[in-house]
Structures are given as structure tokens and as C-alpha cells.
Symmetry: C2
């Protein structure tokens, strides 16, 4: 089995070869723009790795891998509209560069294309792959809706937050891995286990993101840390803080969260100091470790060649060790 980076590079090349019609340019130019913005191509690489893990030929999984990456980019495109995000990977978002209307419609076209790519899977696997893909797509929509609902809700529990990131982030990672397994036509048990690996790893991955946003190496992270704090984003850290804080600390938190004019650094420092006094970073790391361990346990139980499994162990480790 090849390394993650081999598959990532392959996807990067193949994604530029997906055929879209030229016209109407306002529909397809944004699609090409979005797909050319780059990204780590982790999900499609996982489709290929999982297929190989279960002794499939990764070439049989390339179209599904591309389908999942196009789908992922479609969700980013629509999410960017909802989040009113001006930039993605340091470039203007589609709705900023074109318009909201164009972004809605180009997103829709990307979703169609992702289904077309999924349908190119071989006959034996296409029905199960497609059904699993569509069910996962619904979960991702549900996760995005919960994320929006929770941003304006006053009470969000840790359990609700974990469910939300499971749907919004982990479901597609898990779907990518299971898709490769379905194409390789492995046992139902292996399919279930690789899904569990992805689901738990995905949740750990998002918790890691929450931590990195506050404590990540600013230089490597490429942006000022504390963005989530400034935006009052209800991450694991903030929700845990609500849970553990004293009345006094809650007053201070509310002060910062309702302030409309403030010095960003000051707000970040103040909130981080509350985080520190309650040890929420450690709590988040503990939670992350729990999910990470569950992921590794699922991987361990998978019946497949040990050397091939090692590539996935390595991948999981890298994901958890990244400091940016």
C-alpha cells in the first residue's frame, strides 16, 4: 500500500481532470475555482486507502473518491454563504467573488456532479456506495443545520455539541472510509469497523481543531489564534467553560461575549485565562483522546493485512499530532 501523500497527489491531479462543460461560465467557472483552491484532499485519499486496505484496487475507487471531494467542496461552498465567510484558503469565497445566487447554484451543480461521480463505481458496488453516500450527505446537512441552530441558542450541552460535530465533520470522513471498503467488497463487519474508525477519528479531529484554534502555533497555523473566541463560537472549550465556571466567571464571560467593541487580543487573553483556571484545555484533550482511542480500537479489530493497517495508524497519528 502507498502512503497518504501518494493518494493525495493522485487526487490533486485527477481533480483537475474532471470534465465540466464550459457554458454557462457563471455556473461552471465557480465550480472550477472552488476545486482549484486546494486543500489536503484527505477524504478522497481515505477512500483510496480504505479500498487498498481491503485488497481492492484503488483505481476502482478513484471516481468515488473524487465524488466525495466534490461533495465536500459543495458543502464548503454553501457553508461559506451561510457563515458569510469572505475568504477560504486566503482567496475570496465564491459568493464574494461572484454572488450569493451564483454560489447557491454552482453548489447545486457540484452536488449533481458528485452524484455522477459516485455513480461511476462498478456495478457490483454502486447501489450500496450510492445509498451510503446519500445517507451520509443528509447527515452532513443535519450537522450544518444544528451548527447554525446552536450558534444562536442559549443552552447547548456538550452532548449536543458532540452530536453536531459527529454529523457535520465525522460523518463524511467515516463515509469516505466505508466507501472504499464497499468498493473493495469486504465483509460487513470490516465496513462497520472502518466506519467506526472514521467516525471517532473525525470527532477527535474536530476537537483537536477547537484546541488548535486557541492554542495552536500561530506561525504554523497561518492565522491569529483565538478566532473562535473572538467569534463567540460554541466550541467544546467554551461549552465546558459554561458548565464549570463560577457565577463570577460567567459574568465575565458574558461581558466579553456581548461586547460589540473590544480589543481582540484582550478578549482572547481574558477568555483564555478563564479556560486556564478551569482546566478546560485538559478536559478537551481528554475527550479528544477518548475518541482517538476508540478510533484505534476499531482499527485494531479490523481483519486486514497488518502492514496495510499501519498506513492508517500513521495517518491517524499524524492527524492528531499536527500543530496547525
Amino acid at each position: 500500500m502507498r502512503t497518504l501523500s501518494f493518494y493525495q497527489e493522485l487526487i490533486e491531479k485527477k481533480i483537475r481532470e474532471i470534465l465540466f462543460r464550459k457554458e454557462p461560465a457563471d455556473l461552471y467557472d465557480p465550480v472550477r475555482y472552488m476545486l482549484a483552491l486546494g486543500g489536503k484532499r484527505i477524504r478522497p485519499a481515505l477512500v483510496l486507502m480504505s479500498c487498498e486496505l481491503f485488497d481492492g484496487d484503488y483505481e476502482d475507487a478513484v471516481s468515488a473518491a473524487l465524488g466525495i471531494e466534490v461533495f465536500h467542496n459543495f458543502t464548503l461552498l454553501h457553508d461559506d454563504i451561510m457563515d458569510k465567510a469572505p475568504l477560504r484558503r486566503s482567496k475570496p469565497t465564491v459568493h464574494t467573488k461572484w454572488s450569493n445566487d451564483v454560489a447557491i447554484l454552482s453548489g447545486d451543480a457540484m452536488f449533481v456532479k458528485s452524484c455522477q461521480l459516485m455513480m461511476q463505481v462498478n456495478k457490483q458496488a454502486v447501489a450500496s456506495v450510492m445509498e451510503h453516500f446519500l445517507e451520509s450527505a443528509l447527515l452532513v446537512c443535519e450537522g450544518q443545520q444544528l451548527d447554525m441552530t446552536y450558534q444562536s441558542a442559549s443552552n447547548v450541552s456538550i452532548a449536543q455539541y458532540l452530536e453536531m460535530i459527529e454529523l457535520k465533520t465525522a460523518a463524511l470522513l467515516a463515509c469516505a472510509l466505508k466507501t472504499g471498503a464497499l468498493i473493495a467488497n469486504t465483509s460487513a463487519q470490516n465496513c462497520e469497523l472502518i466506519y467506526e474508525f472514521g467516525r471517532n477519528l473525525g470527532i477527535a479531529f474536530q476537537l483537536h481543531d477547537d484546541i488548535l484554534d486557541v492554542y495552536g502555533d500561530e506561525e504554523k497555523f497561518g492565522k491569529l489564534s483565538g478566532g473562535d473566541i473572538i467569534a463567540n463560537k460554541k466550541t467544546f472549550l467554551l461549552l465546558k467553560t459554561f458548565e464549570l465556571s463560577s457565577k463570577e466567571q460567567q459574568l465575565e464571560l458574558n461581558h466579553w461575549m456581548s461586547a460589540t467593541e473590544f480589543d481582540g487580543n484582550e478578549k482572547v487573553a481574558a477568555v483564555k485565562s478563564i479556560f486556564h483556571s478551569l482546566g478546560v484545555k485538559e478536559r478537551a484533550e481528554e475527550e479528544m483522546e477518548n475518541f482517538y482511542k476508540k478510533a484505534l480500537k476499531a482499527l485494531e479489530e479490523i481483519k486486514a493485512d497488518g502492514q496495510k493497517k499501519n498506513e492508517l495508524y500513521r495517518f491517524a497519528e499524524e492527524l492528531m499530532l499536527r500543530t496547525y
Copy 2:
């Protein structure tokens, strides 16, 4: 074969039985709301009629019929955002009742659901049905994009307009008919002919809509006629007027089209008077008749039971005779 109204009622019943999860309510309530708004259910009824025409069992086509209706409603939901439409079937549109963000995401979920319904088609037909459906979905996106582009373009030819309505309106009607044919597993030639029937009928249908908007029976139409004129909508009538009008008439047209404050009735009367002097209504009717005849010719060539074909002749006639 049953009549159109039998199939319409069947669909109306079945559409209320589609299962959606309850939560998140902000994702699925708008979907249920949109599907309960009603409509003539013509597209899904056509799937069933076409399936029966080619000696299939209409029950085998119900899930695909529902899939096409859910897809159609998804496009209406997203179009309403882009058109900033406050009302649909006299009720608040989803983006008005909830928000743009909710409307985007609920639309996405509807699209997923439509694919899931299409995937329930029997094994023998599912691949061809799904591929045709996805290709048609792309055409509909392209048509909507052209519609938006043309609304702000200064020069739009009649040929461009016809291409746009073919994609935006006719493609899905034609797809509905071909889907029924594919499920019935009829000959490739019949599939092609029923598609042509739907494509030409769909274009005639849209031209009829353009005419009705200006000349329709206001009472039966349920709204003031001339809405397209007031909104400067580039319909066949207006584009033909641009083509045929004198310099003087063009000045008058431009005056009305650039006016920001005006009496609606006055504008409609003035523009209608230019239409009248150039005979554009008759030109539009002629064009509509041409497409209608092409549709009938395709239907004639179809190899199927004559009595069954009669139901589709009757349907086409009713579509063209409606005065609202």
C-alpha cells in the same frame, strides 16, 4: 390506462407519506412545508403515465415520480431565494418564513432526498434512470443560470431564450417522461421519442405561460396579468418586440423599462399596445404551435397502444388549452 387526474391524486397522497426525520426541525419542517404547498404534480404524473404507456406497472415508477417532484420543489425553493420571491402559491416562501440560510440547506436536503427516491427504482433500471436524472438536473441548473444571466444582459436573442426555457423548464418534463419509459424498459427509440414529446411540449408550455401572463384571464389566472411586463422580464414577447420595433417604439419601451416609479396598469397598457402594433402575441402563438406540433409528431411516432397514447394527447391538449 388511468387519466392524468388519477395519477395526480395518487402522487398528492404519496408525497405526504414520504418519510423525513423530525429533527433538526429547522431542516425538515421547511421541506414538509414546501411539499405540502401543493401544485399540479404534473411531472410525477407524467412519469407514471409514461411507464403505463410502455406497458410498465406504474407502481414500479412511484418512487421515481416522487423523486422528480421533490427535485422540482427543491429547484423552486432555491429559485425563490434567487428571485427574492415573497410568495409561492399565495403562501410565504421558505426563505421568507424561515431564512435564506435555512432555505439553502433545506433545499440541499431535498435534493439528497430526491436522489434517494430515484435510487429506489428496480435494479434493472436504476442505473439508466439515475444517470438520466442527474444529467437532467445539471441541465436545469444551467437553465436557471442562463435565466439569471439573461435578466441582466442587454442583448438576448430569441434563440438564446428558447435554449434557456428548454433547459429550465422543458428538460425536467422530458426527463419525467423518459424516466417512466426507462422503468418500463421500452425500446431506445421510444425513449427518445417520448423525450422529444416532453421537450417540445415543455417549450410550448413555457411560451404559453409567457402569453398567459399578459393575456390570460385575470380571474382564472388568480393574479393581475402583466406581471412579467412590470418586472421587465425578458419573455418571448418582449424579445420579439425588441427585434421588430421601430426606433421610436424602442425609446418608449426603454422609457418604461427604466422607469423606477410608475403606475403598473399604465405601464402594462403601454407595453401591450406596442406588442399589439407589432403582432407579437400572434408570433408567440405561432412559435408555440410549432413546438406543440413537434411534440405531437413525436408522440405519433411512438410505438405503443393507441388508446394509451390518447391519454397523453388529451394531456397535451389540456396543457395548451388552459387559460390560467
